[in-house]
């Protein structure tokens, strides 16, 4: 089994490194610094860390003001609260003026687990992708998280980076290089392409391994930059494999599946299946139990692949 690493801890440690390299980096949190792991930055640079209390709307506005005066703010809370609780603040204070704010939200998806519906963010990608000018990244493992954070810090403009609560297995080796806006081929195959983000990348690779034994040769793409999405890679995958399955820890509406379907419909229609949460809220439970209940396992991907392959002409 590959090593499992916490993306939140990776985020916290990377922030400290970035803070050492660039004095303009400041960090904001909304009373969750022990969960988002911004606490590491807070201990290292107390005067550059602003705990805004349980007031996410205010935090977003303060971050925008800091960005408007040449700071590079990283603002963190749970993904249900940003963008969910402060959507209009993100829209008018960050997106419209295209300010250099980096929103890094943790606890994305249902793998949050036992805390239940109120803490499981299943709409955040739809909300944030709807905002013009936002770059949206969903890293698949700790190695990609570090690099995405570094790229966000070095690239002007509003960014949203979504990471999850549990530890996730490494899918990359240390020599991996993240390219903003580019899909990554995780596995070559010719029968069908699985396009995945976040924790579903590891599940897609597991599914591809199992399907090989059943005679289906899966191509696997990771799409770490959800917006702007890599249209060229999607069209190429559709042309070369003739069928697509998308996999994300998010509602079916407005996330990866919607974005991929839009590209395919316009440029290269092929059969497509969606692994995502189906228009419902999840409940309390262990992360693995929830992923199983709501259809987000390698086995679900395998079934979707088998179904979509049958639809190929």
């Amino acid at each position: 089994m590959p090593q499992e690493i916490s993306l939140r801890e990776t985020y916290g440690k990377t922030l400290v490194e970035l803070g050492k390299e660039n004095p303009n980096i400041v960090v904001l949190d909304a009373d969750l610094s022990r969960s988002t792991m911004t606490q590491f930055f807070a201990s290292e640079f107390p005067h550059r860390f602003f705990d805004c209390g349980i007031a996410e709307q205010n935090m977003v506005g303060i971050a925008a003001g800091l960005a408007a005066s040449s700071k590079i703010p990283f603002a963190s809370t749970f993904a249900v609260f940003a963008p969910g609780r402060c959507f209009d603040q993100i829209r008018m204070s960050i997106a419209q003026p295209r300010l250099n704010v980096k929103l890094v939200s943790t606890h994305g998806g249902i793998s949050v687990g036992e805390d239940g519906t109120s803490h499981q963010s299943v709409e955040d990608l739809a909300l944030i992708c709807s905002l013009p000018g936002f770059t949206v990244i969903v890293p698949a493992d700790a190695i990609e998280t570090v690099q995405a954070l570094r790229v966000a810090a070095a690239t002007y403009g509003p960014f949203y980076i979504r990471i999850c609560r549990p530890k996730v297995p490494l899918v990359y080796s240390e020599d991996y290089r993240f390219n903003l806006g580019k899909a990554v081929t995780m596995r070559q195959g010719k029968d069908v392409t699985v396009i995945a983000i976040g924790i579903m990348v590891a599940a897609a690779l597991e599914a591809a391994g199992n399907l090989e034994q059943k005679g289906i040769d899966c191509h696997v793409l990771n799409m770490p930059t959800l917006k702007p999405i890599d249209e060229v890679a999607i069209i190429k995958a559709a042309a070369e494999t003739g069928a697509i399955v998308t996999a994300e820890e998010h509602l079916e509406h407005g996330g990866l599946g919607s974005a991929v379907a839009r590209v395919l419909a316009r440029h290269h229609p092929v059969p497509i299946e969606f692994i995502a949460i189906k228009d419902t809220y999840a409940k309390s439970g262990k992360p693995a139990e929830l992923l199983q209940r709501y259809g987000l396992t390698a086995k679900d991907i395998e079934q979707a692949v088998q179904a979509v392959v049958k639809k190929k002409g």
Binding site: R48, F50, Q57, G61, A63, L66, A68, M92, S93, Q96
Partner: protein
């Protein structure tokens, strides 16, 4: 019927090269109270003409804040109209973004852009949007219009100024109705918590919001006590008295360790008889006949 033109013989500050020196230097000869009153009247005339021509906009809450903006832009702010991004400038954040016509009038009179451009308000491709847009208009610090967001934005700028050991001050203008928004009080708590004595909020306390009097729609009282309880120094003034406003801003500069709020008691629609204390003129432009009467009253 054509709209009355502004008197072309009334020279704007932008025409006066010395204005720039005054506006960016504390040592230059300040404007007299009389000169400032003349400017205030000119801003009122601009508001009427602009919104009249546009056929929409928010004259009521623009007129109520004229003296506040005059005191700031023509007396207190250190700013350079020729260099809107000057790093050491004092920041003015218009949180009640619907008072955009007033801010545009002041910026034009200061020389940020030609006064003629005011007539493009709300037109397609104009730099003067219905509500402020920091990406388009020189001198506009914040994209506003969704109420309740300006104080938080101002806090961010004030924190940045303190981190950089900069001396500039941050001013943010809120509406009283705007203070219904919960985010305002999140910001009020935070500004006091962060001890931001480089931050001054001004409330244009005209008593009216769209649906009527504040006390009937959503009672804010006891208003000054609320701010005090949140940890702010509170100064109450007649918001149409330039001397009182200037004194209040000077007092605020002496306050250490806490932010200051100036509660400026004002009259919505001030200066135009049929607009005064009328919620109707919050978001309704005067028609051509009303423009004519209003400009006559503002001669």
């Amino acid at each position: 019927m054509s709209l009355p033109e502004l008197d072309p013989s009334s020279a704007t500050l932008a025409d006066n090269k010395k204005a720039e020196v005054f506006l960016s230097s504390a040592e230059a000869k300040p404007l007299s109270l009389k000169e400032m009153k003349t400017i205030a009247k000119r801003l009122r005339r601009h508001i009427i003409t602009m919104t009249g021509k546009a056929g929409s906009g928010h004259p009521g809450g623009s007129l109520s804040a004229v003296e506040i903006i005059t005191a700031l832009y023509f007396k207190l702010l250190r700013h350079k109209p020729s260099d809107p991004q000057w790093a050491e400038r004092d920041r003015f954040i218009l949180s009640k973004g619907h008072a955009a016509p007033l801010l545009y009038a002041a910026l034009a009179e200061c020389g940020y852009f030609p006064v003629d451009e005011l007539s493009t308000l709300r037109q397609l491709d104009s730099r003067l949007q219905g509500h402020t847009d920091r990406t388009l208009t020189p001198g506009v610090e914040m994209s506003a219009g969704a109420l309740g967001q300006g104080l938080s934005f101002a806090i961010g700028i004030a924190l940045s100024g303190r981190l950089n050991s900069q001396k500039h001050r941050v001013y943010v203008l809120l509406g009283d109705g705007e203070c219904d928004e919960g985010q305002v009080w999140e910001g009020a708590m935070a500004a006091a918590h962060f001890k931001l004595d480089n931050l001054v909020a001004i409330v244009d306390n005209n008593g009216l919001q769209i649906d009527g009097w504040n006390r009937d729609v959503m009672n804010l009282d006891p208003f000054s006590e609320k701010w005090r309880a949140f940890g702010w120094r509170v100064i109450e003034v007649d918001g149409h008295d330039l001397s009182q406003l200037i004194d209040a801003f000077k007092q605020a500069k002496q306050v250490k360790g806490q932010p200051t709020v100036i509660i400026a008691h004002t009259i919505k629609g001030k200066g135009v008889s049929f607009m005064e204390n009328k919620a109707d003129f919050h978001g309704k432009a005067p028609n051509a006949a009303e423009v004519e009467i209003a400009l006559k009253e503002l001669e």
